[in-house]
Symmetry: C2
Subunit: 177 residues, 2 copies
């Protein structure tokens, strides 16, 4: 099994990436504490060609030493914007025709694998603080909550891992189903 | 949308976790450089109740300050073992009836979403070094390679994110399809 070389990977240039049609998924990061997790979100958004990232509240913004450490250059390719208030962004995106879903363990949350991504051509997903989760004021502006089923002692995944899983599941549903 | 409290999350005690039937998936970490990524693998394996983790080559083992930082206690619940040589573990597991797949970008790799998890009741997945990927000697002992489709400028996901995505996809196929 021969590993692919750089040419064979067909990595896009930053210019080609900017012009490329994106997967219509926006990430909203609501009070993420760790800048390393923010950088990882950028790297994931580049890998899956997601539309945009909103960095809200206390979430760090580029340029930032720890973001750059895990983003590996993807802050130059992925579209992003800072907004003080994630609830306002959720409200604005819903007015713009997005379905906005928070990733959170709540009453009557929708299991990730059962989420119907075809219900809307445009989806935004909100990820909250590593300790407190998505803010209640933001939850109030969402269409609903998605939950990654978990069976262990912690019921807690690292938020960067969580972003990767949800992004993959949406890409999978949108591009491959 | 009311967040679930600790009781409602139905988190298992470490004892209950140990006795619980696991998802028949083993992670093999082959020369992982960052102990933070190892800790994250433990946390993911706890969340999805995976069977075991093999830590191979230069991969750090618990107890280790940086593993503990990201594992958040899951090194106490997830079964693990150190082995010098990942290729030998892959060979041993195949002899024990496991399908062993490396996560790597190679010629003719299988796209993750198309992987048929029902072909074998027991699956092991190998994740390689952050820079060099899975060792060629290990690849030679695998049934094949899985690839996460990527569309961006880097064609590279953080290995902890990659472990999360592959673990989720296998859990999804085994438990929910």
């Amino acid at each position: 099994m021969r590993k692919l070389n750089m040419d064979e990977l067909e990595r896009l240039s930053p210019e080609a990436f900017r012009d490329k049609e994106k997967v219509p998924v926006i990430l909203i990061l609501d009070d993420i504490r760790s800048a390393l997790n923010v950088g990882s979100a950028f790297r994931t958004a580049d890998a899956f060609a997601l539309e945009k990232i909103y960095l809200c509240g206390i979430t760090a913004t580029p340029p930032h030493r720890e973001i750059l450490k895990t983003a590996l250059g993807s802050t130059e390719t992925v579209a992003w914007e800072y907004a003080e208030n994630a609830a306002e962004i959720a409200d604005k995106l819903r007015n713009d025709g997005y379905q906005v879903w928070a990733v959170e363990q709540v009453e009557n949350s929708q299991q990730l694998q059962d989420f119907d991504a075809s219900m809307s051509p445009k989806i935004a997903v909100v990820f909250g603080n590593e300790v407190n989760g998505v803010n209640d004021s933001t939850l109030a502006e969402c269409n609903g909550c998605l939950e990654i089923p978990q069976f262990g002692t912690k019921h807690s995944l690292n938020v960067a891992v969580c972003i990767g899983i949800v992004a993959w599941e949406l890409v999978r549903k949108i591009n491959f189903e």
